[in-house]
């Protein structure tokens, strides 16, 4: 963690609450990511995940603290930080090409029409929408719309891609395909990405680092989980990896029980030095052995610790 490409430093967000008080969404949040890393935030609804992302995007301002990206404190939105919205947020009066070209021409104002079009086309091809350039968003399926959203975000070649539960509105099959696409693109281009999700498997497949947040209000970053699975993992055989269940169980355990009681249990929690864990490594595998396995009812699967 020597290279801090993104560094969230002591950020808090408060809203004026009912009756003159203030509601603290989260407080004293410290978080950093290296260039080319894929980070995922997991937490229950209301823990301020989206607020963190909006602050990173510059759409929202922190009540306290600062966000530093590539050595510079951010101020407002920037073309360096592209956002893929949960609701895809395509402009319905523009075609697929028009939506992507709008982003391209916003970044490179002096480009002529042909150059903008060629550049946009490259990214439409990249997300596999060749042939649908002249369709309007209303003519596209949910998955295709989100592909356009991805193409639009990528087309401005951002330093960071910010994704707010981008696949949560899609069916499982489409979601899987798009996860593959995003992973392929991020690996190929070395894209730094920050994503919010509810889906544990999505985080395990995509993320290098998984940030676990406790329940709000007053949410804190409890733990950083480093993904022990190899870089070349595939979505299909993910669950066969020896570390998979250790990692999955660790995250699920956190979401089910620890996220509620964390504030009371971890009295010595230092928000500046959040513990980093790598589930599935020998010492942790032994530790997780002590707990009764929760997945024995699933037939045909080797227990993680025995196969490793």
């Amino acid at each position: 963690m020597t290279d801090k490409f993104i560094s969230i430093e002591g950020v808090a967000r408060r809203y004026p609450g009912a009756g003159g008080g203030t509601t603290t969404v989260f407080e004293d949040l410290w978080l950093s990511m290296a260039r080319g890393e894929f980070g995922c935030v997991i937490g229950h609804s209301g823990c301020g995940k989206t607020t963190v992302l909006n602050i990173l995007a510059g759409l929202d301002e922190p009540s306290e603290g600062a966000v530093i990206v590539d050595g510079q404190a951010i101020e407002g939105t920037s073309l360096d930080r592209a956002v893929i919205f949960q609701s895809h947020a395509l402009l319905p009066w523009r075609t697929v090409l028009g939506n992507v070209a709008y982003a391209v021409s916003s970044k490179w104002r002096k480009w002529d029409r042909a150059k903008v079009k060629a550049h946009a086309q490259k990214f439409i091809d990249l997300v596999g929408l060749t042939g649908s350039e002249h369709k309007r968003p209303s003519e596209l399926s949910g998955g295709m719309k989100q592909r356009v959203g991805i193409a639009r975000a990528l087309s401005i070649t951002p330093k960071i891609m910010l994704m707010d539960e981008p696949f949560s509105a899609l069916d499982a099959l489409t979601r899987g395909t798009l996860q593959d696409e995003v992973r392929r693109i991020c690996l190929e281009t070395g894209q730094t990405a920050f994503m919010i999700t509810h889906d544990v498997d999505e985080a395990i497949y995509l993320a290098d680092k998984i940030f676990l947040m406790t329940n709000g209000p007053g949410a804190v970053l409890a733990e950083i989980v480093e993904n022990p699975l190899p870089k070349d993992r595939g979505r299909i055989d993910l669950h066969r990896h020896p570390y998979y269940y250790a990692l999955r169980n660790h995250i699920i355990d956190f979401l089910v029980s620890r996220s509620k009681s964390f504030a009371a249990d971890a009295t010595d929690h230092d928000p500046r030095n959040v513990p980093t864990v790598r589930p599935g490594l020998p010492e942790l595998a032994i530790a997780s052995d002590a707990e009764p396995p929760t997945d024995t009812s699933w037939p045909g699967l080797a227990r993680p610790s025995t196969s490793s």
């Binding site: 930080r81 592209a82 319905p92 009066w93």
Partner: protein, 279 residues
Amino acid sequence: MMNSLRLRAAIVSIVLFAAFIGVWHLATRSTGPATNMSPEYAKLMGLTATQGKSAMPGPLDVGAKLWEHLRRPFYDNGPNDKGLGIQLAYSIGRVGLGYLIAVLVAIPLGFLIGMSPLISRALDPFIQVLKPISPLAWMPLALYTIKDSSISAIFVIFICSVWPMLLNTAFGVAGVRKEWINVARTLEVGTVRRAFTVILPAAAPTILTGMRISIGIAWLVIVAAEMLVGGTGIGYFVWNEWNNLSITNVIIAILMIGIVGMLLDQILARFTRMVTFPE
């Protein structure tokens, strides 16, 4: 199926129209020459008394007169005898001018109100008070200050068509989806470009709906306004023909007002369809 529905609807429309004309014809036909009337007295009386003819013109009279008007729509025999086309052109011209000025005022102002909560609240009391005022109530004030009846009529059109456009523009602009604004923000799109590339297209259907309501009101008001200011226009024509006791011409004018109003509405409806986007 769709075609057959349209066909059936057209047949019903034609039947209704024929029935209406038939009833009209029967209700207004002559009942035959009156008996027991001295020829000298008959000379003094019109056809109503001598032939038992209804004072109301029948469809054939109106049809014949209409044909006459349509053949020569643009004749000009002095101030009180101009072709129907000229009168309609005057009215459409006034409506067009007043409406255009209203567009130029209402849309930028509506943008301002829609984008700034401060301006919105500050102007709200004025709008609430001014909006319900009948446009004709402005007429004396306009005549007194402007001192020109024709411009006063244009002012009245302006004042009546400005409100629906203003309120709809403000409503449409204020209601642009947050996520579309956020897209523009993350792309560092400047305020002016954002207004034209995101807010305007997003609010356009609502704005056009306001403009469509406005053109309807303007066309309603011009008839009344021209009755007051006189001189030219279809409203003046109606009143003049009433003074001439030419009910036939009044009926023709009513028909023409309806047709032009429909055309104006259709034009705006077409524009609305052009800017409406499916989601």
